[in-house]
Symmetry: C2
């Protein structure tokens, strides 16, 4: 029996609280990408929804429960996707949503947060600075602080992806999961290790933002002073101890990949699958590119977790 903060019954129940637009996302095999990578590749596509990332699953759960308990407002720090999802979920439930983000976050993500009616506060610094400021706002205003990966609802929302992988996939050997704060990895990993323990759970993080991966290998929280990666969605520096504990329980491996591999992954996903993905969503492909022998002949599923890109930057990645 796996010991984490997550609970399978609650994850099943979560499906009833999440807007169906986020559930049962496409899962399909991509022959052309597989030929290029030397293994069978399926994608679990989390970009074909109103917020273009998997984060809506978690924010739907958070806001449903918050409204049930009489809450009227929420605040979060975000690299962009969580804020957009919380704004979307909050808007349809009449919640006041505040999002704190780094001034350096992609403009397209910030614009969409504003367009969804949330109050956006920008800070100098990175996601860790934004987390501090969001906590301050929550204290000052007495409103719900939504902490990605620490709030178990964010993990259990993401975990609904795991249920769909177990139900919907033909036999596969490995699931490749982008690793940032850890909600996606611990959520999906928990379900797989509970219901399909033979499937290898491999977390992938940029070498330029390695804090959680290093922590997993050393089995203790390791922080970094800075991050340097194109994958803005997963660029944290301070792993959360409770999330690390869960990750230690469910991940079979955590690997780091180079920036050049991430960018190649973004390009290959366009070329061979026609998908526009943000760099975080190409981490799985990058992992196969860097260690093809490991995956050769097997069947991997990669979770395409987000597709919010700045189109100018994107042009540079895919057309050089």
């Amino acid at each position: 029996m796996l010991r984490t903060r997550l609970d399978l019954d609650r994850i099943h129940a979560a499906r009833q609280l999440v807007d169906p637009v986020f559930l049962d996302s496409p899962l399909y095999r991509c022959d052309a990408l597989g030929r290029r990578l030397g293994c069978a590749v399926s994608v679990k596509l989390e970009t074909a929804n109103p917020v273009r990332s998997f984060k809506g699953r978690g924010t739907e759960l958070v806001t449903s429960l918050l409204v049930e308990r009489g809450g009227t407002a929420a605040v979060c720090a975000s690299a962009g996707n969580l804020g957009q999802a919380l704004a979307w979920s909050g808007r349809r439930r009449g919640l006041d949503v505040t999002v704190v983000a780094s001034r350096g976050a992609p403009a397209v993500k910030l614009d969409r947060i504003r367009a969804l009616g949330a109050e956006l506060e920008l800070v100098d610094g990175d996601i860790e600075t934004a987390r501090e400021r969001a906590a301050d706002i929550a204290r000052l205003r007495g409103v719900r602080l939504v902490e990605d990966s620490l709030d178990v609802e964010t993990c259990e929302g993401a975990a609904t992806i795991g249920l769909e992988l177990v139900d919907g996939a033909p036999a596969f050997d490995t699931v490749l999961i982008a690793l940032g704060g850890g909600a996606l990895a611990t959520g999906v990993g928990y379900v797989l290790k509970t219901l399909a323990p033979a499937v290898e759970v491999v977390c992938v993080q940029p070498a330029g933002a390695p804090a959680m991966t290093r922590s997993w290998h050393e089995r203790r929280v390791v922080t970094t002073d800075s991050t340097d990666t194109v994958a803005d969605g997963v660029a944290g520096r301070f792993p959360i101890p409770e999330v690390l504990d869960d990750l230690l329980a469910v991940a079979d491996d955590a690997v780091l990949v180079r920036e050049s591999s991430i960018v190649t992954g973004v390009r290959l996903l366009l070329e061979h699958t026609g998908l526009v993905v943000e760099p975080s969503a190409a981490l799985g492909v990058a992992a196969v590119l860097e260690d093809p022998d490991r995956f050769a002949g097997g069947h991997v599923v990669t979770v395409v977790c987000g597709g919010n890109v700045d189109l100018d930057a994107y042009r540079g990645w895919v057309y050089g």
Copy 2:
């Protein structure tokens, strides 16, 4: 009671014969695109599957029934997407598939047909030349000729999209459907007019390939000598009389759009929804761009019917 060749019970039954990977495709509202177009816009996304177009729904039905009847081979003419879908459906059922296509079809579509193990025969000329050659091959070899839009299975496969629109959508006013041979338009249109008759069914065709639209307006088959459009998927010249009859029964309108609007539509779908679409899949957006007052304040659903693009051409469309 609507009189067409289609049958609602058979369409419901088709869902059992079509691989689930093609069914229940994403349907969601795109706020950013809606703001740009001045109306609420939802997309029905038919590109997130192994063949990146809606055609798999039809070929799954065709090949299932063919195998039931003991068939072992099939041939079709294709602008690219039908051939790819027939190759995919045939491969998994052990059928010998031959696809006849124009030498001028996008290389990426031809490559994928070959990669799926089909025999590919190229002809000089357009889709109408390919249709003649496919019919010859069927006669010579005594194998099943799959005729897009004429074979009712291709229409009823496409019609399963209509069931999902009726089940899954919040109230919407108009559905915008790319019009080529007519399988998509007659299929989706039939279901809507049967189960949700208040929804306006608007077919959209390039002004550079207007044969079916002209035929619909004149209520008789009108052919053209040539086509000139970037939307290679819908560039037919010889409307099929039986399909025109069905279209007359189910379409509320058929409109023509300019090439520049189609290309703008392709770009807007990337910018505002992050979707890579082929020009045929941007026809609905093009229709709104050309007549914004008609749709202002309403809620339109556009069927994003295919995403197989040549990336060099695509770069030109979206980055100029």
